[in-house]
């Protein structure tokens, strides 16, 4: 990543972009720049490599010495991965696999829901004129500062007990315990402020002429949204999808609170936290599990990364 010129925060926007990125590219192709970039990349990779090395060493070796001993006493095994993938425990016979499925079942909807809702909200706030739209946008923007942890218990009470005002039931108590739904809803709620903000900045920058032409041709808001806005903001959508997917995939707190650790609904992170054992001594299994959980985010990242840089820069730097 660090070798890509566009990741460097550059003041060059619009007309100046071409010359700016050319200058950055030039400075990175100098020998000194290359050495620097390679050094940073190596440094950045060392902890991940340590994780990999630890996951391949036997239990006694992990307990006795650091992972760098692998160069002096190379003793590599795959049994840690076998333990993680296939050995039972917690009433599960198939090791990590059910948790992997749960992780996907949580992450994919919890990425799509906020994306759909936020894209529509962002369009409405940017292009539909109604009273107080700026105020609504400001409130949504301000919601980003509310820490997620503050909402955990109230939200859990809402899911399990519903909401009542005096004797009046405003929201009934849905029996959602043991399903994915509370996790989806929680992640969607927590993601919406940032998603709406980012997408609003992107969508409001789309050329006004396009919208006007569409209105003249008789297009409705929904038509404009579907045929013009969505295709044009694909980079922003993709970059936010990566963000949100990685966040949900790596989340432990929300999953622990709303899904619980039963094998029916718990994601991989919950299983990973359990892997180290009651006394936290099973590093060799924990590292192997952690390495396995890296695979899916890597696939998502590499398949969507060409949108990543373009989308984020376009959304964040308002011209």
């Amino acid at each position: 990543m660090s070798t890509q010129p566009a990741t460097v925060p550059s003041k060059a926007v619009g007309a100046a972009e071409a010359t700016g990125s050319a200058a950055v590219r030039k400075s990175f192709s100098s020998p000194l720049g290359s050495v620097f970039v390679i050094a940073v990349t190596v440094l950045w990779t060392i902890p991940t490599f340590g994780l990999l090395a630890t996951s391949l060493r036997p239990k006694q070796a992990v307990a006795a010495s650091g992972w760098w001993e692998i160069f002096v006493h190379p003793q590599l095994i795959l049994s840690n991965y076998h333990t993680v993938l296939f050995d039972g425990g917690f009433g599960v016979s198939a090791g990590m696999m059910p948790f992997l499925v749960n992780s996907l079942a949580i992450s994919i909807p919890a990425t799509i829901f906020p994306l759909v809702l936020a894209a529509m909200a962002a369009y409405a706030l940017a292009w539909v004129r109604f009273r107080g739209s700026d105020t609504v946008f400001f409130i949504i923007f301000a919601l980003q500062v509310v820490p997620l942890q503050m909402a955990l218990i109230p939200l859990l009470q809402l899911f399990s007990g519903g909401a009542h005002l005096g004797g009046l039931t405003i929201i009934p108590a849905f029996d959602l315990h043991g399903t994915y739904v509370p996790v989806w809803l929680a992640h969607t709620m927590f993601a919406l402020p940032l998603a709406t903000f980012l997408l609003h900045n992107f969508i409001s920058q789309l050329p006004r002429d396009l919208m006007e032409a569409a209105v003249v041709d008789g297009a409705s808001h929904f038509k404009i949204f579907r045929s013009i806005v969505l295709p044009l903001c694909t980079p922003a959508l993709a970059s936010f999808a990566i963000f949100e997917f990685l966040w949900v995939w790596n989340d432990l707190l929300v999953a622990l609170t709303f899904a619980g650790g039963t094998p029916e609904v718990a994601p991989m992170t919950v299983r990973l936290a359990q892997l180290s054992g009651s006394f936290g001594g099973r590093w060799e299994v924990l590292t192997a599990g952690a390495f396995l959980s890296l695979i899916v985010p890597l696939i998502v990242f590499f398949s969507l990364q060409r949108y990543f840089v373009r989308g984020l820069l376009a959304g964040s730097v308002k011209g």
Partner: protein
Amino acid sequence: MIQKPRPNRPRRQLLAVPAVLVLALAAACSNSSGKSTADATPTTTLSGDCAKYQPYAGHSGTKVTMYASILSPESDSLEKSWSEFSSCTGIKISYEGSNDFESQLQVRVTGGNAPDFAIIPQPGLLAQMVKTGKVVKPPAATVANEDKWNPVWKGYGSVNGTFYAAPMSANMKSLVWYSPKYFKQAGYQVPTTWADLMTLSDRIAKAGGGSKPWCGGIGSGTATGWPATDWLEEAVLGTYGGDVYDQWVSHQVKFSDPKIISAMQTVAGWMQNPAWVNGGIGDVKSIATTTFQDAGAPILTNKCWMLQQASFYQAQWAKGTKIGPDGDIFAFHLPAVNPAIPNPVEGGGEFLAAFSDRPEVQAVQNYLSSADWASSRVKVSTGWVSANQAVDKSLYTDPIDKLSADALTDPTATFRFDASDMMPAAIGAGQEWKSLTAWFAEGQAIPKVAADIDAAWPQ
């Protein structure tokens, strides 16, 4: 300002998409919540191997949830111990272990999402849970099973005099690990009094040869410091007995009380004696930086002679280590500092609190408080002890389990629960850990350590 377009009929169609989403959500939730609500048939008769579960019959097809801090592989043994009960009675026990148990339990209970059962290892946490009003009193059969325990246990499962949670397992903390092999080679005897223990330590220290009598480690991640609280508790209990210990737990006797200060001096003369520690590891300060798991390893290489650590330390010895009275490693009961105190035993344990009074929940609660279940758990694997006096001691196959069970069920013993587990969490899982760690790591003065802990006691 950008002039915004104003198309004809915006609202209705925009609303269509969220409506589809809501429908999808509703469909998904109705699919995945497949809770069975089978009718209870109290007339079921169980026969054959299942006949002994007759008192718990009549709840086939039900499910109870259990939440605890015990993780695999220990939790696997637990699940195995009630698998026969489950298949005979048809009550499924859905077990969930988490190492964020202490904080998550409070979130779930206050969030209205309490599990049916929680296995709570600290009486202090139990009291907090009872305060929420969500803990349900146990049925009569569970209370009756309580008679098989040393009465002090019932007290630890009670809050303000009301009994709430039956104890499940027990562990013994007053153990000293040593190597019978090296003791025999050197001609040392296992000490039976505190004075003998001190004389032996001195003798080992004077003999030199690159080894020291004691080793220790109090590192344990975010819980660093807890082994040091055990040392202090042993000293308090062994010097003054149960009454002062209880008053200390309730803060009637403060840390800065001369009695507790004197107990800290006993610990300082023992585990902070530069000539005695830290065998095979380093100086006194290295106790703070060594993890409790690694602390005993030098005993195997004869760099260190003794380690004070609980019965569950057994799991930390390397594979192939022979544990037993004539093996590589064994343990003896830490003698009382004051010989007048009869057989002090410090221990820990877990309590089963119920958050529901559904009939199947009460059936499970009754079963798990019985000696039948305890025996079943003992048979599954070693490393687990019950203080239930009705459990047949011949079931224990492991010498350490046997030693612990003997001490824990001894009616003459002065049994007391780990004090730091009963003090408020701000002390027992907070300031006491921090201050005792600073005591070892920085060599802080005893009065300052005591004053710091007292100052943090919640009003």
